[in-house]
Protein backbone atom coordinates (compact mmCIF):
# COMPACT_ATOMS: atom_id res chain seq x y z
CA UNK A 1 0.00 0.00 0.00
CA UNK A 2 1.31 3.46 -0.81
CA UNK A 3 1.39 6.30 1.65
CA UNK A 4 -1.70 8.44 1.67
CA UNK A 5 -0.17 11.69 0.50
CA UNK A 6 -3.34 13.76 0.31
CA UNK A 7 -3.89 13.75 4.07
CA UNK A 8 -0.96 12.52 6.11
CA UNK A 9 -3.00 12.17 9.30
CA UNK A 10 -5.95 10.32 7.77
CA UNK A 11 -5.87 6.61 8.50
CA UNK A 12 -7.58 3.60 6.99
CA UNK A 13 -8.72 4.84 3.60
CA UNK A 14 -7.53 1.78 1.69
CA UNK A 15 -7.68 -1.31 3.86
CA UNK A 16 -7.63 -4.89 2.65
CA UNK A 17 -10.99 -6.68 2.89
CA UNK A 18 -10.32 -10.36 3.46
CA UNK A 19 -13.25 -12.70 2.90
CA UNK A 20 -14.55 -14.20 6.15
CA UNK A 21 -15.43 -17.88 6.42
CA UNK A 22 -19.17 -18.20 5.71
CA UNK A 23 -21.14 -21.10 7.18
CA UNK A 24 -24.79 -22.12 7.30
CA UNK A 25 -24.84 -20.43 10.69
CA UNK A 26 -23.53 -17.06 9.47
CA UNK A 27 -24.73 -16.91 5.86
CA UNK A 28 -27.76 -14.71 6.65
CA UNK A 29 -25.52 -12.25 8.45
CA UNK A 30 -22.97 -12.01 5.66
CA UNK A 31 -25.55 -11.81 2.86
CA UNK A 32 -27.10 -8.84 4.67
CA UNK A 33 -23.75 -7.08 4.78
CA UNK A 34 -23.65 -7.13 0.97
CA UNK A 35 -26.98 -5.29 1.06
CA UNK A 36 -25.74 -2.69 3.54
CA UNK A 37 -27.38 -4.09 6.65
CA UNK A 38 -25.70 -4.99 9.94
CA UNK A 39 -27.68 -7.80 11.57
CA UNK A 40 -27.54 -8.83 15.20
CA UNK A 41 -28.61 -12.20 16.55
CA UNK A 42 -31.18 -11.89 19.34
CA UNK A 43 -32.48 -14.69 21.54
CA UNK A 44 -36.13 -15.56 21.02
CA UNK A 45 -36.42 -16.48 24.69
CA UNK A 46 -34.46 -13.90 26.77
CA UNK A 47 -34.35 -11.26 24.01
CA UNK A 48 -30.67 -10.51 24.60
CA UNK A 49 -28.30 -9.66 21.76
CA UNK A 50 -25.08 -11.59 21.27
CA UNK A 51 -21.94 -10.50 19.47
CA UNK A 52 -20.40 -12.14 17.52
CA UNK A 53 -23.65 -13.31 15.93
CA UNK A 54 -24.50 -16.96 16.44
CA UNK A 55 -27.35 -19.42 16.22
CA UNK A 56 -27.38 -20.03 19.95
CA UNK A 57 -27.99 -17.86 22.98
CA UNK A 58 -24.96 -17.74 25.29
CA UNK A 59 -27.00 -15.79 27.85
CA UNK A 60 -29.69 -18.39 28.55
CA UNK A 61 -28.84 -21.45 26.45
CA UNK A 62 -31.84 -21.14 24.17
CA UNK A 63 -31.38 -22.68 20.73
CA UNK A 64 -33.47 -20.29 18.63
CA UNK A 65 -32.49 -16.77 17.68
CA UNK A 66 -33.79 -14.12 15.30
CA UNK A 67 -31.92 -11.67 13.11
CA UNK A 68 -32.50 -8.00 13.91
CA UNK A 69 -31.08 -5.07 11.93
CA UNK A 70 -28.82 -2.87 14.02
CA UNK A 71 -29.04 0.92 13.81
CA UNK A 72 -25.45 0.88 12.59
CA UNK A 73 -24.32 3.59 14.96
CA UNK A 74 -22.28 3.56 18.14
CA UNK A 75 -19.19 4.88 19.86
CA UNK A 76 -15.56 3.82 20.00
CA UNK A 77 -15.02 1.65 23.11
CA UNK A 78 -11.29 1.20 22.58
CA UNK A 79 -8.88 1.53 19.68
CA UNK A 80 -5.30 1.02 18.65
CA UNK A 81 -3.42 2.39 15.69
CA UNK A 82 -1.57 -0.66 14.43
CA UNK A 83 1.74 0.66 13.13
CA UNK A 84 3.74 -2.55 12.70
CA UNK A 85 3.20 -6.26 12.51
CA UNK A 86 0.07 -6.56 10.41
CA UNK A 87 -0.60 -10.22 9.60
CA UNK A 88 -1.82 -11.96 6.47
CA UNK A 89 -3.69 -9.54 4.23
CA UNK A 90 -2.78 -6.73 6.61
CA UNK A 91 0.95 -7.12 6.13
CA UNK A 92 2.08 -3.75 4.84
CA UNK A 93 -1.35 -2.17 5.40
CA UNK A 94 -0.17 -0.32 8.51
CA UNK A 95 -1.08 2.08 9.89
CA UNK A 96 -4.67 1.04 10.42
CA UNK A 97 -7.07 1.29 13.32
CA UNK A 98 -8.29 -1.81 15.14
CA UNK A 99 -11.14 -0.98 17.47
CA UNK A 100 -14.05 -2.12 19.55
CA UNK A 101 -17.21 -0.20 18.80
CA UNK A 102 -20.09 -0.24 21.27
CA UNK A 103 -23.26 -0.36 19.20
CA UNK A 104 -26.36 1.53 20.28
CA UNK A 105 -27.86 -1.92 20.96
CA UNK A 106 -25.21 -2.42 23.67
CA UNK A 107 -22.85 -5.04 22.26
CA UNK A 108 -19.18 -4.28 21.65
CA UNK A 109 -17.79 -5.53 18.36
CA UNK A 110 -14.31 -5.68 16.91
CA UNK A 111 -13.91 -3.65 13.74
CA UNK A 112 -11.79 -1.04 12.02
CA UNK A 113 -12.25 2.70 12.17
CA UNK A 114 -11.69 3.96 8.64
CA UNK A 115 -11.31 7.34 7.01
CA UNK A 116 -10.46 8.86 10.35
CA UNK A 117 -8.04 11.64 11.20
CA UNK A 118 -5.52 10.55 13.78
CA UNK A 119 -6.20 13.57 15.98
CA UNK A 120 -9.96 13.01 16.11
CA UNK A 121 -9.61 9.37 17.16
CA UNK A 122 -10.67 8.91 20.78
CA UNK A 123 -12.64 6.60 23.04
CA UNK A 124 -16.25 7.75 22.92
CA UNK A 125 -16.06 9.01 19.32
CA UNK A 126 -19.49 8.61 17.65
CA UNK A 127 -19.23 6.38 14.59
CA UNK A 128 -21.48 4.86 11.94
CA UNK A 129 -21.14 1.68 9.92
CA UNK A 130 -19.82 1.38 6.38
CA UNK A 131 -19.45 -1.84 4.40
CA UNK A 132 -16.36 -2.87 2.49
CA UNK A 133 -17.04 -5.55 -0.08
CA UNK A 134 -14.80 -8.62 -0.04
CA UNK A 135 -14.05 -10.95 -2.92
CA UNK A 136 -16.67 -13.33 -1.49
CA UNK A 137 -20.38 -12.96 -0.72
CA UNK A 138 -19.69 -10.72 2.24
CA UNK A 139 -18.81 -7.16 3.14
CA UNK A 140 -16.88 -6.17 6.26
CA UNK A 141 -18.74 -3.89 8.68
CA UNK A 142 -16.34 -1.07 9.52
CA UNK A 143 -16.98 2.29 11.08
CA UNK A 144 -16.25 5.87 10.21
CA UNK A 145 -16.66 8.99 12.33
CA UNK A 146 -20.30 10.13 12.32
CA UNK A 147 -20.24 13.38 10.40
Amino acid sequence: MTENTTSAARIGSDLPAPTPPISVETQTFWTATTEGTLLLSRCLSCREYAWYPRGFCPHCGHLDVEWVPAAGTGTVYSYSIVRRGGLGDYRGAEPYVLAYVELDEGVRMMTNIVDVDEDELRIGLPVSVVFHRTAGEAALPRFTPAR
Partner: protein
Protein backbone atom coordinates in the same frame (compact mmCIF):
# COMPACT_ATOMS: atom_id res chain seq x y z
CA UNK B 1 -10.95 -32.33 48.14
CA UNK B 2 -8.00 -29.97 48.28
CA UNK B 3 -4.66 -30.35 46.54
CA UNK B 4 -2.81 -28.68 49.38
CA UNK B 5 -0.13 -31.01 50.69
CA UNK B 6 -0.95 -33.67 48.09
CA UNK B 7 1.70 -32.89 45.47
CA UNK B 8 5.13 -31.32 45.12
CA UNK B 9 7.26 -30.01 42.29
CA UNK B 10 10.36 -32.19 42.37
CA UNK B 11 11.98 -31.25 39.07
CA UNK B 12 12.19 -28.15 36.92
CA UNK B 13 14.20 -27.30 33.84
CA UNK B 14 14.43 -24.40 31.42
CA UNK B 15 16.12 -24.84 28.07
CA UNK B 16 19.20 -22.60 28.15
CA UNK B 17 19.00 -21.56 24.49
CA UNK B 18 16.84 -18.86 22.91
CA UNK B 19 17.48 -19.96 19.35
CA UNK B 20 17.53 -23.66 18.47
CA UNK B 21 17.98 -24.08 14.71
CA UNK B 22 19.13 -27.68 14.77
CA UNK B 23 16.35 -29.48 16.65
CA UNK B 24 12.70 -30.35 16.07
CA UNK B 25 9.92 -29.29 18.42
CA UNK B 26 9.51 -32.85 19.72
CA UNK B 27 13.24 -33.08 20.38
CA UNK B 28 13.08 -29.96 22.51
CA UNK B 29 10.08 -31.38 24.41
CA UNK B 30 12.11 -34.52 25.12
CA UNK B 31 15.22 -32.53 26.00
CA UNK B 32 13.46 -30.38 28.61
CA UNK B 33 11.63 -33.46 29.92
CA UNK B 34 14.98 -35.19 30.42
CA UNK B 35 16.28 -32.07 32.14
CA UNK B 36 13.39 -31.84 34.60
CA UNK B 37 13.47 -35.56 35.35
CA UNK B 38 17.23 -35.43 35.96
CA UNK B 39 16.72 -32.43 38.24
CA UNK B 40 14.25 -34.50 40.26
CA UNK B 41 16.40 -37.62 40.25
CA UNK B 42 13.82 -39.54 38.23
CA UNK B 43 13.78 -41.12 34.77
CA UNK B 44 11.33 -41.41 31.89
CA UNK B 45 10.28 -44.86 33.14
CA UNK B 46 9.02 -43.29 36.39
CA UNK B 47 6.54 -41.01 34.58
CA UNK B 48 2.90 -42.12 34.76
CA UNK B 49 1.16 -38.81 34.07
CA UNK B 50 1.80 -36.47 31.14
CA UNK B 51 0.56 -32.95 30.45
CA UNK B 52 1.05 -30.83 27.34
CA UNK B 53 -0.77 -28.08 25.45
CA UNK B 54 -1.15 -26.80 21.91
CA UNK B 55 2.58 -26.39 21.37
CA UNK B 56 3.00 -30.18 21.41
CA UNK B 57 3.25 -31.45 17.84
CA UNK B 58 0.85 -33.88 16.25
CA UNK B 59 -1.80 -35.61 18.31
CA UNK B 60 -0.82 -33.87 21.55
CA UNK B 61 -0.16 -36.27 24.41
CA UNK B 62 -0.58 -39.32 22.18
CA UNK B 63 2.13 -38.24 19.77
CA UNK B 64 4.41 -37.09 22.57
CA UNK B 65 3.90 -40.18 24.77
CA UNK B 66 4.70 -42.24 21.69
CA UNK B 67 7.78 -40.15 20.85
CA UNK B 68 9.18 -40.23 24.39
CA UNK B 69 8.22 -43.86 25.06
CA UNK B 70 6.04 -43.09 28.08
CA UNK B 71 3.72 -45.58 29.80
CA UNK B 72 0.93 -43.52 31.29
CA UNK B 73 -2.14 -43.82 33.47
CA UNK B 74 -3.15 -40.17 33.09
CA UNK B 75 -2.95 -37.52 30.35
CA UNK B 76 -4.23 -33.97 30.03
CA UNK B 77 -3.87 -31.64 27.04
CA UNK B 78 -5.76 -28.63 28.35
CA UNK B 79 -4.90 -25.73 26.08
CA UNK B 80 -5.64 -22.28 27.42
CA UNK B 81 -2.76 -20.61 25.64
CA UNK B 82 0.22 -19.43 27.64
CA UNK B 83 -1.60 -20.09 30.90
CA UNK B 84 -1.90 -23.82 30.15
CA UNK B 85 1.13 -24.97 32.11
CA UNK B 86 0.12 -23.15 35.28
CA UNK B 87 -3.24 -24.91 35.02
CA UNK B 88 -1.47 -28.22 34.31
CA UNK B 89 0.29 -28.08 37.68
CA UNK B 90 -3.07 -27.77 39.40
CA UNK B 91 -4.51 -30.57 37.29
CA UNK B 92 -1.48 -32.76 37.97
CA UNK B 93 -1.76 -32.15 41.70
CA UNK B 94 -5.46 -33.06 41.59
CA UNK B 95 -4.73 -36.21 39.60
CA UNK B 96 -2.01 -37.20 42.08
CA UNK B 97 -4.32 -36.44 45.03
CA UNK B 98 -6.93 -38.70 43.44
CA UNK B 99 -4.41 -41.49 42.98
CA UNK B 100 -4.52 -41.38 39.19
CA UNK B 101 -0.74 -40.95 38.85
CA UNK B 102 2.27 -40.24 41.04
CA UNK B 103 4.92 -38.76 38.72
CA UNK B 104 3.44 -36.14 36.38
CA UNK B 105 5.53 -34.59 33.63
CA UNK B 106 4.56 -31.24 32.08
CA UNK B 107 6.40 -30.07 28.97
CA UNK B 108 6.46 -26.99 26.74
CA UNK B 109 8.57 -26.41 23.65
CA UNK B 110 8.43 -24.33 20.51
CA UNK B 111 10.55 -22.79 17.81
CA UNK B 112 8.94 -19.51 16.74
CA UNK B 113 12.34 -18.07 15.78
CA UNK B 114 13.74 -21.02 13.84
CA UNK B 115 10.46 -22.42 12.59
CA UNK B 116 6.79 -21.80 13.17
CA UNK B 117 4.37 -22.37 16.01
CA UNK B 118 0.83 -23.66 15.67
CA UNK B 119 -1.77 -20.93 16.07
CA UNK B 120 -4.69 -21.71 18.34
CA UNK B 121 -7.12 -19.56 16.36
CA UNK B 122 -7.74 -20.66 12.79
CA UNK B 123 -10.56 -19.97 10.38
CA UNK B 124 -12.65 -22.72 11.98
CA UNK B 125 -12.82 -20.73 15.22
CA UNK B 126 -16.33 -19.27 15.49
CA UNK B 127 -14.97 -15.80 16.26
CA UNK B 128 -12.52 -15.77 13.34
CA UNK B 129 -14.78 -14.11 10.77
CA UNK B 130 -15.76 -11.42 13.25
CA UNK B 131 -12.32 -10.55 14.58
CA UNK B 132 -9.34 -11.73 12.57
CA UNK B 133 -10.67 -10.29 9.30
CA UNK B 134 -10.10 -6.84 10.83
CA UNK B 135 -6.36 -7.37 11.14
CA UNK B 136 -5.96 -8.55 14.71
CA UNK B 137 -2.50 -9.33 16.03
CA UNK B 138 -1.41 -10.21 19.54
CA UNK B 139 0.11 -6.77 20.27
CA UNK B 140 -2.94 -4.93 18.93
CA UNK B 141 -5.37 -7.02 21.01
CA UNK B 142 -3.40 -6.18 24.14
CA UNK B 143 -3.12 -2.57 22.99
CA UNK B 144 -6.93 -2.34 23.01
CA UNK B 145 -6.88 -3.36 26.67
CA UNK B 146 -4.08 -0.91 27.46
CA UNK B 147 -5.90 1.96 25.77
CA UNK B 148 -9.04 1.24 27.76
CA UNK B 149 -7.09 0.95 31.02
CA UNK B 150 -5.46 4.31 30.34
CA UNK B 151 -8.88 5.79 29.59
CA UNK B 152 -10.61 4.46 32.68
CA UNK B 153 -7.85 4.80 35.26
CA UNK B 154 -5.39 7.38 34.01
CA UNK B 155 -2.60 4.84 33.69
CA UNK B 156 0.38 6.29 31.81
CA UNK B 157 2.87 4.89 29.32
CA UNK B 158 5.62 5.78 31.79
CA UNK B 159 3.98 3.61 34.45
CA UNK B 160 3.67 0.71 32.03
CA UNK B 161 7.32 1.17 31.09
CA UNK B 162 8.43 0.57 34.69
CA UNK B 163 7.32 -3.07 34.32
CA UNK B 164 9.89 -3.49 31.54
CA UNK B 165 12.53 -1.57 33.49
CA UNK B 166 12.17 -3.88 36.50
CA UNK B 167 12.27 -6.97 34.26
CA UNK B 168 15.42 -5.72 32.56
CA UNK B 169 17.12 -5.11 35.90
CA UNK B 170 16.46 -8.76 36.75
CA UNK B 171 17.43 -10.12 33.34
CA UNK B 172 20.79 -8.39 33.74
CA UNK B 173 21.72 -11.18 36.15
CA UNK B 174 20.45 -14.06 33.99
CA UNK B 175 23.20 -15.27 31.64
CA UNK B 176 20.64 -17.10 29.50
CA UNK B 177 18.28 -14.14 29.08
CA UNK B 178 17.78 -12.92 25.53
CA UNK B 179 17.91 -9.25 26.57
CA UNK B 180 20.31 -8.49 29.44
CA UNK B 181 20.66 -4.75 28.97
CA UNK B 182 19.08 -2.63 31.68
CA UNK B 183 16.67 -0.15 30.11
CA UNK B 184 15.10 3.07 31.34
CA UNK B 185 11.56 4.40 31.17
CA UNK B 186 12.77 6.73 28.41
CA UNK B 187 14.15 3.79 26.43
CA UNK B 188 10.70 2.17 26.49
CA UNK B 189 8.81 5.35 25.61
CA UNK B 190 11.24 6.14 22.81
CA UNK B 191 11.09 2.69 21.25
CA UNK B 192 8.86 2.48 18.16
CA UNK B 193 5.13 2.21 18.64
CA UNK B 194 3.92 -1.23 17.54
CA UNK B 195 0.22 -0.76 18.29
CA UNK B 196 -0.67 2.39 20.20
CA UNK B 197 -0.15 2.74 23.12
CA UNK B 198 2.27 -0.21 23.22
CA UNK B 199 5.88 0.33 22.19
CA UNK B 200 8.31 -2.33 21.08
CA UNK B 201 9.79 -2.51 24.58
CA UNK B 202 6.31 -3.01 26.06
CA UNK B 203 6.24 -6.35 24.21
CA UNK B 204 7.76 -9.65 25.28
CA UNK B 205 10.55 -11.35 23.39
CA UNK B 206 10.09 -14.07 20.79
CA UNK B 207 12.31 -17.07 21.50
CA UNK B 208 12.81 -20.71 20.69
CA UNK B 209 13.00 -22.91 23.73
CA UNK B 210 11.05 -24.81 26.27
CA UNK B 211 10.71 -25.97 29.81
CA UNK B 212 9.41 -28.81 31.90
CA UNK B 213 8.22 -29.54 35.41
CA UNK B 214 7.83 -32.82 37.31
CA UNK B 215 5.04 -32.98 39.89
CA UNK B 216 5.11 -35.91 42.31
CA UNK B 217 3.21 -37.37 45.23
CA UNK B 218 4.55 -36.82 48.78
CA UNK B 219 5.55 -40.49 48.87
CA UNK B 220 7.73 -40.11 45.78
CA UNK B 221 9.14 -36.78 47.02
CA UNK B 222 10.29 -38.43 50.26
CA UNK B 223 12.49 -40.81 48.29
CA UNK B 224 14.20 -38.02 46.37
CA UNK B 225 17.27 -36.04 47.40
CA UNK B 226 16.20 -32.87 45.63
CA UNK B 227 14.37 -30.09 47.44
CA UNK B 228 10.76 -30.32 46.30
CA UNK B 229 8.44 -27.35 46.60
CA UNK B 230 4.84 -27.82 47.67
CA UNK B 231 1.79 -27.15 45.53
CA UNK B 232 -0.41 -25.20 47.96
CA UNK B 233 -3.23 -23.84 45.85
CA UNK B 234 -4.50 -23.44 42.32
CA UNK B 235 -7.28 -21.62 40.53
CA UNK B 236 -8.18 -21.21 36.89
CA UNK B 237 -10.85 -19.27 35.10
CA UNK B 238 -11.08 -18.73 31.39
CA UNK B 239 -12.73 -15.37 30.70
CA UNK B 240 -15.07 -15.11 27.74
CA UNK B 241 -15.97 -12.23 25.47
CA UNK B 242 -19.33 -12.32 27.29
CA UNK B 243 -21.33 -12.29 24.06
CA UNK B 244 -20.26 -8.73 23.35
CA UNK B 245 -20.17 -7.37 26.92
CA UNK B 246 -16.38 -7.25 26.98
CA UNK B 247 -14.68 -4.84 29.36
CA UNK B 248 -10.93 -5.26 28.53
CA UNK B 249 -9.75 -3.94 31.90
CA UNK B 250 -10.44 -7.01 34.03
CA UNK B 251 -8.64 -10.29 33.50
CA UNK B 252 -9.49 -13.85 34.48
CA UNK B 253 -7.29 -13.34 37.54
CA UNK B 254 -10.37 -11.85 39.21
CA UNK B 255 -11.67 -15.42 39.39
CA UNK B 256 -8.53 -17.59 39.31
CA UNK B 257 -6.80 -15.79 42.18
CA UNK B 258 -9.25 -16.16 45.10
CA UNK B 259 -9.58 -19.97 44.96
CA UNK B 260 -5.78 -20.29 44.77
CA UNK B 261 -5.31 -18.11 47.86
CA UNK B 262 -8.13 -19.91 49.69
CA UNK B 263 -6.80 -23.36 48.92
CA UNK B 264 -3.29 -22.37 49.94
CA UNK B 265 -4.57 -20.73 53.11
CA UNK B 266 -2.38 -17.68 52.58
CA UNK B 267 -2.96 -13.96 52.14
CA UNK B 268 -1.35 -11.38 49.88
CA UNK B 269 1.02 -10.38 52.66
CA UNK B 270 2.36 -13.93 52.70
CA UNK B 271 3.49 -13.82 49.06
CA UNK B 272 7.26 -13.33 49.05
CA UNK B 273 7.72 -13.56 45.28
CA UNK B 274 5.39 -13.48 42.27
CA UNK B 275 5.85 -14.68 38.72
CA UNK B 276 3.33 -12.60 36.78
CA UNK B 277 2.68 -13.32 33.13
CA UNK B 278 4.26 -10.50 31.16
CA UNK B 279 3.42 -10.90 27.50
CA UNK B 280 3.14 -7.12 27.56
CA UNK B 281 3.63 -4.53 30.27
CA UNK B 282 -0.14 -3.97 30.51
CA UNK B 283 -0.62 -7.68 31.24
CA UNK B 284 1.27 -7.28 34.50
CA UNK B 285 -0.56 -4.11 35.56
CA UNK B 286 -4.03 -5.56 35.03
CA UNK B 287 -3.07 -8.90 36.59
CA UNK B 288 -1.63 -7.55 39.84
CA UNK B 289 -4.76 -5.44 40.29
CA UNK B 290 -7.03 -8.41 39.67
CA UNK B 291 -5.03 -10.67 41.97
CA UNK B 292 -5.62 -8.05 44.66
CA UNK B 293 -2.09 -6.78 45.22
CA UNK B 294 -3.41 -3.25 44.79
CA UNK B 295 -6.83 -1.66 44.25
CA UNK B 296 -8.34 -1.82 40.74
CA UNK B 297 -6.97 0.96 38.62
CA UNK B 298 -3.97 1.58 40.89
CA UNK B 299 -1.65 -0.86 39.12
CA UNK B 300 0.17 1.87 37.26
CA UNK B 301 1.05 3.76 40.44
CA UNK B 302 1.86 0.46 42.19
CA UNK B 303 4.48 -0.59 39.65
CA UNK B 304 5.85 2.95 39.30
CA UNK B 305 6.71 2.84 43.00
CA UNK B 306 9.34 0.19 42.24
CA UNK B 307 7.36 -2.56 43.94
CA UNK B 308 8.29 -5.13 41.30
CA UNK B 309 12.04 -4.75 41.71
CA UNK B 310 13.83 -7.59 43.45
CA UNK B 311 14.91 -8.23 46.03
CA UNK B 312 13.58 -5.31 48.05
CA UNK B 313 10.34 -4.28 46.31
CA UNK B 314 7.02 -5.04 47.94
CA UNK B 315 6.17 -7.59 45.25
CA UNK B 316 9.39 -8.76 43.60
CA UNK B 317 8.45 -10.30 40.26
CA UNK B 318 9.92 -12.23 37.34
CA UNK B 319 13.46 -12.39 38.66
CA UNK B 320 14.56 -14.36 35.59
CA UNK B 321 13.76 -11.31 33.46
CA UNK B 322 10.36 -12.70 32.51
CA UNK B 323 8.89 -12.84 29.06
CA UNK B 324 9.80 -9.20 28.56
CA UNK B 325 13.55 -9.89 28.66
CA UNK B 326 14.43 -13.51 29.33
CA UNK B 327 12.35 -16.04 27.46
CA UNK B 328 8.90 -16.63 25.97
CA UNK B 329 9.31 -20.06 24.39
CA UNK B 330 6.66 -21.08 21.87
CA UNK B 331 5.02 -17.69 22.48
CA UNK B 332 3.71 -19.20 25.71
CA UNK B 333 5.05 -17.87 28.99
CA UNK B 334 3.31 -19.91 31.68
CA UNK B 335 6.02 -22.54 32.04
CA UNK B 336 8.82 -20.06 32.70
CA UNK B 337 6.63 -18.42 35.35
CA UNK B 338 6.54 -21.69 37.28
CA UNK B 339 10.25 -22.34 36.80
CA UNK B 340 11.40 -19.06 38.35
CA UNK B 341 8.98 -19.47 41.26
CA UNK B 342 10.55 -22.87 41.93
CA UNK B 343 14.05 -21.35 41.79
CA UNK B 344 13.04 -18.68 44.29
CA UNK B 345 11.57 -21.21 46.71
CA UNK B 346 14.66 -23.39 46.43
CA UNK B 347 16.88 -20.35 46.99
CA UNK B 348 18.44 -20.90 43.57
CA UNK B 349 17.64 -17.59 41.86
CA UNK B 350 20.60 -15.36 41.10
CA UNK B 351 21.89 -14.01 44.44
CA UNK B 352 21.34 -10.42 43.29
CA UNK B 353 17.61 -11.05 42.86
CA UNK B 354 16.99 -13.93 45.27
CA UNK B 355 14.27 -12.90 47.69
CA UNK B 356 15.64 -13.55 51.21
CA UNK B 357 13.88 -16.32 53.08
CA UNK B 358 11.41 -16.91 50.25
CA UNK B 359 8.70 -19.17 51.64
CA UNK B 360 5.60 -18.57 49.54
CA UNK B 361 5.52 -17.81 45.82
CA UNK B 362 2.76 -17.16 43.32
CA UNK B 363 2.86 -17.98 39.61
CA UNK B 364 0.20 -16.61 37.30
CA UNK B 365 -0.44 -17.45 33.68
CA UNK B 366 -2.38 -15.57 31.03
CA UNK B 367 -3.35 -16.96 27.65
CA UNK B 368 -4.95 -15.70 24.48
CA UNK B 369 -6.04 -12.09 24.65
CA UNK B 370 -6.35 -9.70 27.61
CA UNK B 371 -9.62 -8.81 29.26
CA UNK B 372 -11.57 -10.84 26.73
CA UNK B 373 -11.51 -14.50 25.66
CA UNK B 374 -8.48 -15.41 27.72
CA UNK B 375 -7.05 -18.16 29.85
CA UNK B 376 -6.10 -17.41 33.41
CA UNK B 377 -4.45 -19.67 35.97
CA UNK B 378 -2.98 -18.96 39.39
CA UNK B 379 -0.70 -21.24 41.37
CA UNK B 380 0.62 -20.79 44.89
CA UNK B 381 3.70 -22.74 45.87
CA UNK B 382 5.47 -23.16 49.19
CA UNK B 383 9.06 -23.85 50.20
CA UNK B 384 7.81 -26.44 52.64
CA UNK B 385 4.80 -28.72 52.38
Amino acid sequence: MTIRGKALIAGAYEHPLRKIPDKSVQQVHAEVAAGALADAGLSFSDVDGYFCAGDAPGFGPLSMADYMGLSLSYVDSTDIGGSSYVAHIGHAAAAIAAGKCSVALVTLAGLPVSGTVPTAVNDRAPEFGFENVFGTSTPSMYALAAQRHIHEFGTTSEQLAEVKVAASMHAHYNPNALLRKVVTVEDVINSPLIADPLHRLDCCVITDGGGAVVVVSPEVAKRLDRHSVAVLGHGEAPKTAAAGRIDLTHTGAVWSGPPAFAEAGVTHADIDYASIYDSFTITVVETIEDLGFCPKGQGGAFVASGALRAPDGGLPFNTDGGGLCNNHPANRGGMTKILEAVRQLRGEAHPAVQVPDCEIALAHGTGGSLGTRMGSATLILGREA
